[in-house]
């Protein structure tokens, strides 16, 4: 009997490469003393190999392991995105962890394993692989959030995330069970061929509702957002950078893929539910963002608001909305990685230097750093020529295309709120006198990563067709 074919192995090669290198890294960590630096290099090599595999499989348009995994196109695009995010977050983490004297090899192993989960999410053609991917990513995140074991805030963050995350997983699993019960399969490709017949069954609709709750939690949409501020604030800054970009992108990739099944019907009820979810996230995220004084917390609320913008793309159920989400995820990932990279460099021991006041006068003390942070804030606000503007434009335009003009108007108005708290940091940096004259050290690796992120958002902001041309072959 044949268990699998060479195509299956080739199709899952990014996952296999990551798995292999995470095991090598784990063994290096176990058998060599003081090997954290070595583990870092092994993990980085593993990520490069996986990027190579993803790019190689891009032209394939197939499934692997009896329709469990998607290969090429959509899966490859998102895999490369997650892998780049993982690599950048490792570059931010290394100097930060060395400074905090918490530099252990397990950190990188967990990053690799979380990335396996993310790649599985983007490639899942079956609800079972989607569930396993979500669990692998989330369990790694729970541990990473509590990585600073001696710090109370880190413990709190991990425990809160773990308890609420396990609860949300229950909803997701129950939803999958109901969909399996009403259709007899967990395979998305097979479920989509049955439409619209399953929609006559209330249990089927409840199943999708429960799955929506599970995904809503993972992408941090209102009203499932309660965990975000505390978890993002308490977790070590490089971990927050990884969670808020990679975790969100992975959750959106599976959200988009899974919901393209019921949304292929353009069901009015589901579109309305998603639109309300998007509107609530944009409103509450931006509203609470106004009153924050801590930068990590402010970015946590901003992350809720951005989840709202991206859900517009799913609610509109048009190819334009889907492309908008994919583009937005790229720009949001680069912007947030850059911003958190700067925060990681500015941060002092025991969570000092995280407030707006601590950034006063940065424009004179470190002009390059201040200019980069200003760029990231402009991109988050959605001001051209940065990538954030193009992403927002596509998402709002998709809402108008789908006759949900009210949602687009609502999005623009709530974006106006957000201008206040994004631009406030720029006011502090350039128009206030410095109160703190301690020297700021800029570790080369982190600074180079931040510059790369800045270059990325300018490049994609001016030439968005670089990404949109790729996406024409995906959606």
């Amino acid at each position: 009997m044949e268990f699998f074919s060479p195509t299956d192995l080739l199709g899952s090669s990014p996952i296999l490469a990551l798995g292999l290198f995470s095991l090598i890294a784990l063994l290096v960590n176990a058998f060599l003393k003081n090997s954290a630096g070595m583990v870092f290099y092994v993990s980085a090599v593993g990520i490069f190999v996986a990027i190579g595999c993803s790019i190689y499989t891009f032209p394939m348009n197939a499934t692997a392991f009896s329709d469990m995994l998607l290969v090429g196109g959509y899966a490859s695009f998102f895999s490369v995105l997650f892998l780049v995010i993982a690599l950048f977050s490792m570059f931010i983490a290394k100097p930060y962890l060395e400074r905090e004297q918490y530099h252990y090899g397990e950190y990188y192993v967990l990053i690799l394993l979380a990335t396996i989960g993310m790649v599985m999410l983007a490639s899942s053609a079956d609800l079972i692989t989607a569930f396993l991917g979500i669990e692998m990513m989330s369990v790694s995140f729970y541990v990473l959030a509590g990585y600073f074991r001696g710090k109370l805030s880190s413990n709190e963050s991990a425990l809160k995330y773990f308890l609420l995350g396990a609860f949300a997983t229950g909803f997701l699993l129950y939803g999958i069970a109901l969909i399996y019960g009403t259709t007899g399969t967990t395979n998305l490709l097979r479920i989509v061929t049955m439409y619209p017949q399953p929609f006559n069954d209330p249990l089927h609709i409840i199943g999708w509702g429960l799955i929506l709750i599970g995904f809503g939690f993972k992408v941090a949409a209102v009203p499932f957002h309660m965990w975000v501020p505390d978890v993002y604030e308490g977790a070590p800054t490089p971990v927050t950078a990884f969670m808020s970009t990679g975790g969100k992108a992975a959750a959106f990739s599976v959200f988009l893929m899974t919901f393209s099944v019921p949304m292929s019907m353009r069901d009015e009820r589901l579109m309305t539910v998603l639109a309300v979810l998007a509107a609530a996230s944009m409103l509450l995220g931006n509203w609470f963002g106004l009153s924050q004084t801590n930068l990590k917390r402010m970015l946590a609320y901003s992350s809720i608001a951005h989840a709202g913008y991206m859900i517009i793309g799913i609610a509109s159920a048009t190819p334009m909305g889907q492309q908008g989400i994919a583009f937005y995820l790229v720009s949001y990932a680069l912007t947030n990685l850059g911003a958190f990279g700067i925060i990681a460099m500015m941060e002092k021991e025991n969570g000092g230097n995280l407030n707006y006041e601590d950034y006063a006068g940065l424009g004179k003390r470190k002009p390059a750093l201040a200019a980069l942070l200003a760029m990231f804030m402009f991109s988050l606000t959605g001001i051209p020529p940065f990538a954030g503007f193009i992403g927002k434009y596509y998402l709002f335009a998709s809402a108008v295309q789908s006759h949900m003009t009210w949602l687009a108007i609502f999005g623009v108005i709530t974006s106006l709120f957000s201008t206040y708290y994004y631009l406030r940091i720029i006011v502090y940096m350039y128009f206030k006198e410095a109160t703190n004259h301690e020297e700021i050290k800029l570790p080369g690796l982190t600074f180079a990563t931040v510059i790369l992120c800045g270059a990325g958002i300018v490049l994609f902001g001016i030439v968005p067709s670089l990404i949109f041309d790729l996406m024409k072959s995906i959606f």
Binding site: L69, Y104, L110, V143, R149, G150
Partner: protein
């Protein structure tokens, strides 16, 4: 009475007996032991239904893993004080009664008033699905990928537990 019926009635009798005894015991450890007996008898009932895999997993997971957890909790929490426990019940007791009555009505409806034709005959195909052989075949063919990747999920959990519990704290 055939042999099968004899096995069924004796298992069912012990199941009900152990369930009732679990509720009546004053000592929580004895309750837990009766629960284990109950799980074993339920496992036996699954076996008579030709669901070997569920029977084995039921005993391994419930009687093995979950009961150990129960016993640990009972021993660590030191639930000696009955009075304080009953004080907290109140509202919850009535909810519990309401749920049990609801379940009883549901069962009576299923077995008493509904036509039992669809439940009497077990189709050979569905009976075969419960065997270890069938599940093993599916796990290593159709579900090969999720099955293998689950080992990585367990690896994450192990690394996480060791990292959070064992690493030295740097002050």
């Amino acid at each position: 009475m055939t042999f099968e019926q004899g096995v069924f009635y004796s298992l069912a009798g012990v199941t009900v007996f152990s369930a009732v005894m679990m509720l009546l015991q004053r000592n929580p450890v004895n309750s837990a032991l009766f629960l284990i007996l109950n799980f074993f008898c339920l496992g036996g009932l699954y076996l008579t239904l030709n669901a070997q895999f569920i029977a084995l997993v039921h005993i391994l997971v419930y009687a093995g893993a979950i009961m150990v957890l129960f016993l640990f909790v009972i021993m660590l929490l030191n639930l000696g004080d009955d009075k304080r426990l009953t004080e907290h019940l109140g509202m919850r007791m009535y909810l519990g009664i309401a749920f049990s009555v609801g379940l009883l009505v549901e069962l009576l409806y299923m077995f008493g008033f509904n036509t039992p034709s669809s439940y009497t005959q077990l189709s050979p195909a569905s009976a075969e699905m419960g065997t270890v052989e069938f599940i093993g075949k599916v796990l290593f063919t159709k579900f090969l990928f999720p099955f293998e990747i689950t080992s990585f999920l367990l690896l994450v959990a192990i690394i996480g537990a060791v990292l959070l519990a064992k690493k030295k704290i740097v002050q």
